[in-house]
Structure formats: C-alpha cells, structure tokens
C-alpha cells in the first residue's frame, strides 16, 4: 500500500489503482531477486572474474557474429537502414499504421515458414505486430478472456506469465500439473483435472496456453500431445495459444512440430479459428532489444481486434524497415537458422556433459537457451523452502544466478533452469568449474 504525501499543505493522499499497487508484476519473486544480485556484482571475464554469472536470463548471444557479418556486407553505411538514399525517411517517420509494413510482415511470414522447414504456410495478413512476445501474450489474453476467466497453462512455466497474462488483464492462470515421470509432458488426465479444478472454483476457462518448445524445460512438445490439446480445446470450445518463441532454437529441426503443421491440413474453420501462435525475434535472432513480436491467428476476428489493440504496442517503423530485407533474404536466414541450431546444440552438450561429470542429471532437452537441471538429491528438505535455500546457496556461494523451479510453479521440488546461451564458452566453462568444485566439497562432507 502506498503511504505518501509529498506536500505539507495537503493531508489528502491521492489514490492509485489496484493495478498500480498490486504485486502481480511478480518482481518480488526469487526469479527477479537473483537479477538484483547479478546487477550488484556482475561477472566480467577480465574485470570481475569472481562476480555473479548470470544464468537466469534466456538471451541468445551465440550467433551475433552472423548478424554482424551480414549487416556489414549488405548494409554499407547504413544504406539498408534508411540513412543514405534508402526508400523513404518520410515513410519511416510518418508510418504508424497498425497493419505494419507489408514487406516486413511478408519477411516474418517467410522466416517463420523457414523455421518450420516449409511444413506450414503463414499468411502475412494474419500477422499482427507487437512490441515483443510479452506484449503479444498479454494482448491475446485481453482478447480471448475476460477478467476472472482463466487460461490453463502447463507447469513448469515461464515465470513472466504470471505478470504478462494476469496483471492488467485480470485473467487467472490455472496450472496443468506435469512431472518428471513422463518428462513433464502434458497428459490427458492432468488437462482434465486442471479444467475440473477451474470449474469447481466457478472459473470459466477460455483457453490453453502452451510454450513449444517449452520454457523452462528446453524440450519440444510431442506431436500427439499437440493433437490431443487441439481436440481438447475443440471439445471444450476454448482457444489454444502456442507460444513458439523458441521454435528456431530447436537443435534438430525434425524434432519440432508446430501447431501450425497440425492446423495446416484442417479445413474446418471452427477448428482452426481457435488456434493462435505467438512469435518473436528476441530468442531465435538474439534481438530482444528490438522489441519485435507477433501474434499469428487463424481467427479473422482476433486478427482484426489484435491489430487495433496493437496501437498500444506498435513496432517502430524504423525497426520494421531495418529488419525487413534481412529477414526476407532466404539465403541468409537459411544459413543463420542452421548455424544457430548447431551452436545451441553444442552449448547444450557442453553444459549437460559438464553437469553429468559433476554428478548432476538434466532433463533430456532438445531446444532453447537453457537446460532443466535436477538437484532434488541435494535438498535437505524436499520442500519449496528447501529448494529456495539451495538456490540461495548457489547464488551466494557459487555466485551463479539460476532460476528455481518454484518460480516456474513446478510441482516437483529441486529442479532449476540454467541458461547457457548468454555468455561465451569460456564463461560457461567457469560456471561448470564452480559447480564441480561445489559438488566436490559436498562429497567430502
């Protein structure tokens, strides 16, 4: 609650809204507390080698050189980027149409098709641009659900959803509990159970929201699960949102099935129009600073509505302009996607091997910028508090900021998400070394 009065003349403290004073933004959770520790003492290879290594931020820095090389070659003196002689500074400056630049939407559609190996087609007119996937998820939630309605979300899930899906929208999240017995895949029983839980609490379920590949699991969702999910959504007459923000970060393209592929062969509009995909350039292309996200919907009404609402979260015309030609250069994007996958796979192998040598197992993953590590065996108390205590030790003693499963609403304690793509290989080796030493010390006692 706020308690301010900044002026002596006035004893009336002016009120703020519920949204402003709520803590649904979740920034008091350990997920964010670790970031603070990092900010205060950030690791640096040369200047601060004993600082906190940030392994809690899913950022992709492994393929920057590819972007740089391309831009240097194709964009001498910024010609591509609107400075010298490039088409329309004027158009750039004035353009604020929520439809978005047609060339840019075409580029996005083409990029998304390439990531899926051409197994699904994307219509540029169904692409709605938003300032990041965060905004896309929130926008979809506003459109698909009313305050006090719910979305079913499988656990463990990205901690940011608590904020993105609930804060301003007033919508609830009802978890679909998954556990390690089947590699955290969604089961029909868990799905029905979550739905029933909502009904028992008199909460109206409006949709299921999955992340595929999953964050924090770092694994793709199986095709048969996707088919079952769509069937479930049809039976309950609800929406299916698939956040595919890591689709380009799957190590082997053949292992990823997008919900777009499932829908591709369906003609029935009443089935298709409940499916919506969220995408962004923040992870696959490593450009979170550009704030480029998209909602792709098979529902005309949702596309129209999202477009209009996107005025609150438009992608800068400058950004669209800058990225349109790069994303439509198929030769480049093909090469980029391939090499990016390869490098992420390599990183994944390094970290999983390294952890294995230290006696730590991870979930078998095949995608993303992180691995899902099991430290359950290290917990003194197999409780949430036990997990948070261990997390605190890892932060303070090992100076590693990793994300505890608790903050991802995991129903099993002891799991941690560890990011590996936002640092050099060197730094990764140092982090692994710290873990080895820690495990050695523990073994001695």
């Amino acid at each position: 609650m706020m308690e301010r009065s900044s002026n002596n003349n006035n004893n009336n403290v002016v009120e703020l809204s519920r949204v402003a004073v709520s803590d649904t933004h979740g920034e008091d959770s350990p997920y964010f507390a670790g970031w603070k520790a990092y900010d205060e003492n950030p690791y640096d290879e040369s200047h601060n080698p004993s600082g906190v290594i940030q392994m809690g931020l899913a950022e992709n820095q492994v393929s920057f050189d590819l972007l740089e090389t391309y831009l240097e070659k194709k964009n001498p003196e910024g010609s591509m980027w609107g400075s010298k002689g490039a088409p329309g500074f004027r158009e750039n400056a004035l353009f604020q149409d929520y439809h978005g630049l047609k060339t840019f939407r075409q580029a996005m559609a083409s990029f998304m098709e390439q990531i899926r190996g051409g197994k699904a087609r994307f219509d540029p007119d169904r692409i709605v641009l938003t300032a990041g996937a965060t905004a896309a998820n929130e926008l979809l939630t506003f459109i698909l659900a009313d305050p006090n309605d719910a979305l079913l979300v499988p656990t463990p899930y990205y901690p940011g959803f608590d904020r993105d899906l609930r804060w301003r929208t007033g919508v609830k999240i009802v978890p679909i509990h998954c556990d390690s017995s089947n590699h955290f895949q969604i089961t029909p029983e868990a799905l029905e159970s979550a739905y029933q839980t909502a009904r028992d609490a008199n909460i109206r379920v409006r949709g299921v929201l999955i992340t595929n590949p999953s964050n924090p699991l770092g694994a793709t969702v199986q095709k048969k699960v996707l088919e079952y999910l769509l069937d479930f959504c049809v039976r309950k007459n609800i929406h299916l949102v698939s956040d595919e923000i890591y689709s380009g970060s799957v190590f082997h393209a053949s292992e990823f099935t997008s919900v777009a592929e499932i829908v591709e062969n369906i003609d029935d509009v009443s089935v298709k129009e409940r499916v919506h995909i969220v995408y962004s350039l923040s992870k696959d292309l490593g450009l979170p600073g550009f704030r480029v996200g998209t909602i792709y919907s098979y529902n005309d009404n949702v596309v129209r509505t999202a477009r209009r609402m996107s005025s609150f979260t438009l992608v800068s015309s400058q950004t669209q302009h800058m990225l349109a030609s790069m994303l439509s250069d198929e030769e480049f994007t093909d090469k980029y996607i391939r090499i990016n996958r390869e490098r992420l796979r390599r990183r994944y192998e390094i970290i999983v091997e390294g952890l294995k040598k230290a006696g730590i197992e991870c979930l078998k993953g095949n995608a993303g910028l992180f691995c899902w590590m099991n430290l359950g065996f290290l917990l003194e108390k197999k409780t949430k508090d036990g997990e948070l205590q261990l997390w605190d030790v890892i932060l303070k003693e090992l100076k590693l900021n990793i994300s505890p499963g608790t903050s991802c609403h995991c129903s099993e304690v002891g799991w941690f998400r560890v990011c590996f793509a936002n640092m050099s290989e060197n730094t990764l080796e140092i982090a692994l070394k710290r873990i080895h030493e820690f495990m050695d010390r523990r073994r001695r006692f």
């Binding site: 009336n12 831009l71 400075s83 004035l94 929406h239 369906i266 550009f290 509505t305 800068s316």
Partner: protein, 519 residues
C-alpha cells in the same frame, strides 16, 4: 427450445441481441398489459406476451442461444474431429474484445478511412480527398532528413572503437528507457517548454508513443469503472486509448466558444457532482495543453485552478502536453509541471504526457513519455513498459537527436515559424470565405467555425456537412461531434502537412461547396 450444441458466434450483433433478451423485458411486457387493462386483462396482457415470445422464438431459431461454455456440448466424437460438416461450436472472444473489431461509427475514423481510398496528390491525383483530419506535420522534414542522413548510422552503432558491435543495440535493456535517453528527453522537454521548468529523468518513463503513455497512466490511476473528467472538445483517439482495455470512463466537461473553449472550475464541479450522484467514482482530470482540437493554450491561472480543484477533490491531474513544442502564437506555454513544482500544491497528483510524434514529426518511431511526480506511479509505469518499450536502436538514435542541441534549436525555430506561417495562410484563406476560426496558439490544427454552412444548426446538420465536405468538396475535416463538442458546426482542420499551393485549392473547393448548396 432445443440447443443444437453450437455456440453463439462472436459477432457484435449477436451480442447486442443477447443483451436485449433480458429478464426485465419478459416481466414488463405482460405487466404492461395488465396495468393498461385495455381489451380486458386477458387480451391486454396475453397478446403482447405472445407477440413478444414469438419474436423471441423467431430470433432464437435464427441464431442459436449462448451455451454455457462450462458444459460439454454434444459434439462429435474424436474420430470425426477433423472431418467436414461437423457442428463444432464457434469459439468466442472476450466480451471486452467484441466492440474493438467493430467498424467505427466515429466520423474521425470514417474520414481517415475514406481518404485512404482516394488520397489527394498534387500531381497524380488532383481530384483526390485532401487530408485535414490527421494531426501530423511534414513542414520540417527537410531538416530531419538531413540530420538522419548524416547521423543515423553513427547514432545507432555508437561504440568506442568505431567497430559495429551489434550487442549494443540487440540486447535487453531496461524497459523504461536508457538513462541517457531519459536525460536527453528531460533536457529537450525543458528546452521546448521555454526553459522555465526542469524535468527529473528519474520521474520519467519512455513509452512506445503517446498512445501507450496515456493508457498506462489510466491503468495506474483508475480502476475499471472509474472515470476521468475531460473537457470538450477532446481528441477522439482518447476514447480508444482509455476505454479499449482499462474500463475507465470519460466524462465530458463541456466548454463553450464564449470561453474560447477553456474549461472552468464550475463546469468541472458540476460534472463531478453529477458523476458522484450516479455513483461513479472520478479518479482524475485529463486535458491537453496546447489543447487538441481547439489549439488554445491554457493560462497559468487556469492551470492553477485545475490543480487546486483536483487537490480539493483529491483526484489526479493528467496534462497531455504533446503539442508543447508546436506553439506559434504569442501566448506563453506553461507546463503543468511548472505549476506542480511551484510548491503551492501537492504535486504527487500531477502527471504529464509527452511524445515526439507532433513536435518532432516522427510518429513512426514511436516515442512517448510519462512524467509523474508520484514515485509509485513511476515505479508501476516502469514495470508496465515491458509491454510498450522503445527498441534500443531507436533509443540510441533519439539520444543522439535530442542531445544535438544545435540541431534541436534550429529545428524548433523553423518548426514554430513554419507552422505560424502556414496557420496565417490557412486562417486568412478561410477568413476570405467569411469562415472564422477559434483563437489558437499551438498545435497542428485550427478549430474552424463552419456553422454558416450548416443547413440546420444541429448535430445532424453538422454531420451532413461533414459528409458533403468529404464526398463533394473532397476534404476530410473532423467534425466537432467526433470531439464531443456541444456547439454544432465546428471542424478541426490540420494544416501542417499542406504545401502553400494546396491552400487555395482547399478554399476553392469550400467556396464551390457553399455556392452549390445555396443554389
């Protein structure tokens, strides 16, 4: 009445019909018959009932009723799932989404859409519709273009060793804007507002345009169902910006030509009391200064009156100062920030909106500002910026642009001068036709009194004139109705995207329209 398992489609008409089919109707119709007693109790009550219920039956047959989404509809089995001809229910969107996709009935949007179908071009389409409905300026594009061509790349790729390092623009940065950008904005705003007020970068949050700025403030200051008082006429876009998602209401506070459309405390008082009577909680006052659409500049006294009133009633004040740098008249612009900082009032209730779309003519870049004296509002707004932040490369360009003091001074001088010149020409042209304008000192438009062209001095007459201007004279000007002006005949005409030679064309078209309607 059986349900066939299919659901209500998500069309707006369907929703309104559903709304009409309410319990009260079912009660009132038979009761009315009873009370009237005409044709006897039996006939008087039965016939209207029957008619009404038959109507309902007819409507229901045409369109299936909403089914409870919590129930399992009697649909096909899994094996038939993907085959055609299935009676699977149509999935619905939320009720708050329903009005958003509807075609707008506001002349503001209708006019903008119409221009797109047949836009005027000095060379290629001289018969097209001339756009006077969009508050944009192209008057100083030459200066901006020159700056961009000289500085764009450097400003974006700023790195110490001169090598292009993409990580400086690619990675996550604080969503509320880089500190250097907030510092640059603070300095810029102070400069364009006459240098009498200073802005603290730590009270500032950078947003992806003025639109999210106003929405975020609404989310922070008012709950769903609360209201802001807003003097009329007001910018039609506020309806969407505020009402789309926040659920906050806008209560018009009517201003009159006799006051040059300046809000009075008594009008505010009256509006507030009326709101309270119907149980609506007022959270704040929202106004623009320089005002859109009138273009007048609020005096220091008026600003003090507003703040004093807000303090008395314990509500917020939001001052949208997005046109602050587009002041061309003789009247001095005073920012609400200056009044707030004077120490005479509780400043924690004061919030300012700003942006670069109007003063710097770069709406496409999407850069706006929330400036608040309330620490908790700043903190909440910062966190909400994850949904509406400015891309890092664009931030770097803006840092460079706003800190280039020499350029900014040159630009602002030219911007003000050119608006002033254009304004004089435009108003003079209208004056020749005997059409007066309201007194204005800022903004990109003038508030034109076209009442002499109305066939009837009413809203209907005004909308007819709007239509004639659009279809016959082929000019898109925003009618006062769209801005909730209670006096008919006023139109907002934006003149800052016009070349000098366009003005006589416009005046001629208006003249011809007037001639043809006289005959």
């Amino acid at each position: 009445l059986s349900t066939n398992g299919s659901n209500l489609s998500s069309t707006p008409e369907a929703t309104t019909i559903a709304a009409a089919e309410q319990f009260p109707m079912r009660l009132i119709v038979p009761l009315r018959g009873v009370i009237q007693g005409r044709g006897g109790l039996f006939v008087g009550s039965l016939i209207p009932c029957c008619l009404f219920y038959f109507l309902q039956l007819y409507l229901k047959r045409r369109r299936p009723p909403p089914s409870d989404p919590a129930e399992l509809p009697r649909t096909s089995s899994r094996t038939n799932l993907f085959s055609r001809g299935n009676s699977i229910g149509r999935v619905r969107v939320s009720s708050r989404a329903v009005p958003v996709a509807k075609p707008s009935d506001s002349p503001y949007y209708i006019g903008l859409e119409r221009v797109k179908t047949d836009p005027y071009d000095r060379i290629k389409n001289t018969d097209g519709i001339i756009q006077l409905g969009l508050a944009e300026s192209t008057l100083c594009f030459d200066l901006l273009k020159r700056w961009m061509s000289e500085n764009l790349m450097e400003s974006m790729m700023q790195s110490d060793d001169g090598e292009f390092d993409i990580s400086s623009i690619a990675m996550y940065k604080p969503f509320e804007g880089l500190l250097e950008l907030r510092v640059a904005f603070a300095d810029f705003m102070s400069r364009i507002m006459g240098g009498n007020v200073s802005f603290d970068p730590s009270n500032m949050v950078i947003t992806a345009g003025g639109t999210p700025a106003i929405e975020v403030l609404a989310f922070c200051l008012a709950d769903h169902g609360n209201a802001f008082l807003i003097p009329t006429p007001y910018y039609p876009g506020f309806d969407r910006d505020i009402k789309f998602r926040t659920g906050v209401e806008l209560i018009p506070v009517h201003c009159r030509n006799s006051d040059n459309f300046t809000v009075t405390v008594s009008a505010l008082e009256q509006a507030l009391n009326q709101a309270r009577k119907r149980g609506c909680k007022v959270s704040g006052i929202l106004f623009s200064n320089p005002s859109n659409p009138v273009g007048n500049i609020l005096s220091r006294e008026t600003l003090q009156d507003i703040l004093r009133f807000a303090q008395e009633k314990n509500i917020h004040v939001i001052s949208d100062e997005i046109f602050a740098g587009s002041v061309y008249g003789d009247k001095e612009f005073v920012s609400m920030a200056e009044i707030a900082g004077s120490g005479d009032f509780d400043k924690s209730r004061v919030h300012i909106i700003y942006g670069l779309s109007k003063d710097l003519s770069i709406p496409g870049f999407r850069a706006g500002v929330i400036y608040s004296f309330h620490e908790d509002v700043v903190n909440a707004a910062k966190k909400l910026m994850r949904f509406s932040s400015v891309p890092v490369p664009v931030q770097r360009i803006l840092i460079s642009l706003l800190s280039d003091v020499r350029f900014i001074e040159e630009y602002m001088r030219a911007h003000r001068q050119r608006i002033r010149d254009k304004h004089i020409r435009f108003v003079e042209g209208l004056k020749q036709l005997g059409i007066p304008c309201a007194e204005s000192g800022g903004g990109l438009s003038c508030w034109v009194d076209m009442s002499s062209l109305l066939t009837s001095y009413s809203e209907k007459g005004e909308l007819e004139l709007f239509e004639k201007l659009l279809t016959v004279a082929k000019i898109n000007a925003t009618p006062g109705t769209a801005c909730y002006c209670i006096e008919p005949g006023w139109f907002r005409c934006c003149f800052t995207a016009l070349a000098d030679e366009d003005i006589p064309v416009i005046m001629e078209r208006i003249r011809q329209l007037r001639e043809s309607s006289r005959s």
